[in-house]
Point group: C2
Chain length 223, copies 2
């Protein structure tokens, strides 16, 4: 055996290089844990009802201190809406990018009082595809699908249904007017992610909001 | 002046380098024009009703020979639906990519009988952000927004409203059940793109489908 071969044999094998985003996401995670803050990354199509669910959550979640990060390509109308409730909120404008990333979150949390919070809800950019690939440092991923989008979305956008810890079907008050088959949707989702819970909600009628709050409280449990 | 400076002064200034995508898009455009085929790139969120509008178009557009290219991350259920009408259709699966690009279109059109067609409707991947940046070689861009998505979308996704030649508001049959303000939406869109036409349609009731067909026929006019 030559010296070169001996050296080569001692070179450690790096199985997978962390990307810059993953490194920052890991730092974010350390920071969140050091403050005992749980972070939920909420992903959905444009107009699926993310902000409306956040408003219902703020109204219904008692006994936990909540912060919000709003992600949008442009505008701050969602953050302005959240701010009317007195909830600490930061708006991220991606300036064209189709998803949030870990450095954006690192920057945004500097404006949140982490030491006074129990959880942060992150509303990602409206997009069923791109946000799935970018770790933010969150503890849980939540995917929203609104009834008007149709029950066939798991066929077309499988990655999000594989990546999330909970699926929330929103706008259930529209079920009477549309062809969304809840049972078919459940079967398609469970074909991709067999044990994932699925909650059907309407922020308008209040249906299912209690189940959503119970799921959040279970994840916040300090057990 | 040194020889080097003289040479440097004669180097042509390339104002803007074409990307690989733009080069292929230009080739696609040449191919479409050589067959006298008009191409429409249809962009919208997931579940906004792109395929349903295509089905209504196939039923209503008489006297023009139509082909369809369906773009999805995964599955071919949209193309299967179109195929039931006998319309020539090709499904593109992007395998994860959040938009169609010109090379995908170049590949797909090989399976379409361009010499027998007057127009091709391209249904892009469900996404309000990424498809806007990729030229496919189309003649016209059409943006769809469904009533359940809300009238505030121009604030949050301005680029698509600046890029398109027509905005179609879909699912108008749901207006009685939702807070979508059509006049506010028109104002926001015209703030970004002052002269763009906006057509309000429902594939369910047929409202506005005639206006959409008239717009298409106008663009197809051989004048």
């Amino acid at each position: 055996m030559s010296d070169n071969q001996a050296i080569s044999n001692r070179v450690p094998v790096v199985e997978r290089l962390l990307t810059a985003n993953e490194e920052v996401a890991a730092d974010n995670r350390v920071q969140f844990r050091s403050h005992d803050v749980k972070v939920f990354n909420i992903m959905a199509s444009p107009g699926a009802g993310k902000t409306t669910l956040l408003m219902a959550t703020i109204a219904a979640l008692a006994g936990h201190r909540l912060g919000v990060i709003e992600g949008d390509v442009a505008s701050q109308i969602d953050a302005d809406k959240i701010a009317t409730t007195g909830t600490p909120v930061v708006q991220i404008n991606t300036g064209g990018a189709c998803h949030l990333d870990a450095p954006m979150i690192r920057h945004a949390v500097q404006a949140l009082p982490l030491e006074d919070l129990d959880l942060v809800l992150v509303e990602n950019v409206g997009n069923l595809i791109c946000p799935v690939s970018f770790d933010l440092g969150q503890d849980f991923n939540v995917g929203l699908i609104s009834v008007p989008e149709g029950h066939d979305k798991p066929y077309k956008y499988p990655a999000i249904f594989e990546a999330v810890d909970l699926v929330v079907v929103t706008k259930s008050d529209l079920l009477p007017y549309l062809d969304f088959e809840v049972d078919t949707f459940r079967e398609l989702v469970h074909g991709l992610n067999p044990t994932i819970p699925i909650i059907v909600v309407s922020a308008k009628t209040g249906e299912g909001i209690g189940d959503w709050i119970a799921w959040l409280e279970d994840k916040l449990g300090r057990g």
